[in-house]
């Protein structure tokens, strides 16, 4: 059961507003975000329910849900929202709040994927698809999961064995260094 407390009923709404500039009180619960979401069947909370929970300040349910982590940020919801609410941006803000509150991310796979993805970027300045898939599937102890796709993608030139590097990898490394420094400062 959700207990609605009039004292800080607008707390979460205001925090989201200050982080993202998006006002969830505009939401009329039409559900178009959920209707078009490609990840919707996998989500424990539907996008329109996420917005509703912000409206009634249910922080606990929101920061512990898997939805905010499995949202692919494809922005279909944001583009089609009749109230022009950028829902993908709100998902970003919720992820930020969950990390700040040090709530363990329930979606291990997502964290693993993000780590491997960013690692690839740090090293090369761009992603190396083969490395990403292999490392990810090894980490999840399912080494042969996407193996059948490999030969087809390889023959069509979608998978490079060695991967590519961008010209100025140093600058990318600098970005990573700076962001780490900012985080420490915070």
């Amino acid at each position: 059961m959700s207990y609605l407390n009039s004292q800080d009923i607008h707390k979460l709404r205001n925090r989201i507003l200050s982080i993202s500039g998006e006002d969830v009180s505009k939401c009329i619960q039409c559900g178009k975000c959920t209707a078009g979401c490609p990840i919707s069947p996998e989500m424990d909370l539907q996008p329109n329910q996420v917005l509703r929970l912000i409206q009634i300040n249910d922080e606990d349910a929101l920061l512990r849900c898997s939805t905010i982590w499995i949202c692919a940020s494809c922005q279909t919801c944001s583009v089609r929202c009749p109230e022009e609410i950028d829902i993908a941006k709100i998902m970003d803000s919720l992820r930020k709040l969950a990390l700040e509150a040090k709530i363990p991310v329930g979606e291990e796979k997502v964290v693993k994927f993000d780590e491997i993805f960013l690692d690839s970027i740090r090293k090369r300045g761009r992603v190396h698809e083969l490395e990403l898939v292999m490392k990810y599937n090894l980490a999840l102890r399912q080494p042969f999961k996407d193996a059948h796709l490999g030969p087809v993608m390889f023959t069509r030139g979608k998978l490079g064995i060695l991967g590519h590097k961008i010209k100025e990898v140093g600058k990318i490394k600098e970005i990573f260094k700076n962001s780490r420094r900012i985080k420490q400062m915070e």
Partner: protein, 464 residues
Amino acid sequence: MTESSHDENIELMTYSEIVEVKGFVGNFDVTIRKKPRYVDLTKCTGCGLCTEKCPAKVPSEWNLGMGLRKAIYKPFGQAVPNVPVIDKEHCTFFTKGKCKVCQKLCPAGAVDYEQQEEVVTKKFGAIIVATGFTQFDPSVYGEYGAGKFKDVITGLHLERMLDTSGPTGGHVVRPSDQKEPKNIVFIQCVGSRDESKGHPYCSRICCMYTAKQAILLKDHFPETQSYIFYIDIRAGGKNYEEFVKRAQREYGAIYIRGRVSKIYETNGNLIVRGVDTLTGKQVEIEADLVVLATAIVPQPDAIELAKVLNIPYDQYGFYSEAHPKLQPVESVTKGIFLTGSCQFPKDIPDSVATTGAASVRTCEILSKDELILDPKIAFVNPDICSGCLNCVEVCPFNAIESTVVDGRTVAQVIPTLCHGCGNCASTCRTSAVNVSGFTDDQIYAQVASVFEILKKESLLELSE
């Protein structure tokens, strides 16, 4: 409509446009352009032979392009007066110089290709504006495929098909293959309640006409199943809620609380993907026909007409009433009244009610010898008016004109047009214009006494 055409106190001017409105309540000079219809109103008997024999066929506007009409035609069956008009752009005679079939066949000799436009100016005591609405073009919703998929239509298309004198004779068919649809999906609020499309208001009539169409479909074609995607069911009106309940209970319409995000085509059928927010799940429906409840929007030339009439309109182009609660059919300009959907989306009972109200309000003006006006209006002291006429420029109601007093040009207020807004008074450099009850002297006296009170109660410290 037919009754009004027979009334001796009513002069109908159809196929005419208002070009200019001058004057004020009780005294309007209206210039009207009567467009040539190329058929003599006094001679035509309305037999319809010309329409029958006309060789030129054009998509019918009345049937939203779903059927054809002739180049000499009446827009719809019950049109008043019962006299056709020639569509000059598509008439074979006007475009190619040959044909004249209608003229040759007309037993009354009413067809006259030489008819010219006529401009007349007449005096009127009051004006009622009832220019109606048009429907929102849903093709801006790429995700709904209106305009791309033939079987995605609007409520008005379905309404025409359900009409026994309509393009399909009351038979509902899919535009793509003329087959009878089984699964019909209705989508509410297409355009309406959509900030991103510029129409955040509710169109008010769609909930009810959709329920009606779902009932009619089941009634005429028992095989059909209707699915209605809605955000809220707005059935506020006498017996409205019961009507929607009947659509659900007796006619088996399935109402789904949620919006549709995408329509796509597979194997000639439409797949509608939406959400049922009550179960929190996405739903997909294979539809034979999709009906969009498109928003009610003002006529494309509504703002143009508002400028001619000098009446205010809102951000969407609907005409504004003088007061939303207490003067709902009066425009801000005295003597001009509003009714129907030119004001905001209205259903039939509301339109009839406001029309009655507006008619009675005009009778109120026309039945009296003298008008009672608000006394708080502007007046000019001609002795100190310098005749700069800045006040004429700033008046939003065109209520100030110039006149000559003792050989000098001075401003003069037309009391029936003035609303007492005070624009003129604050603009006047010599304080020659003032508003009764709010003269400069009175306002200064008020300010002075407020200062006195504040000083007395030590609420104000003046550094002297």
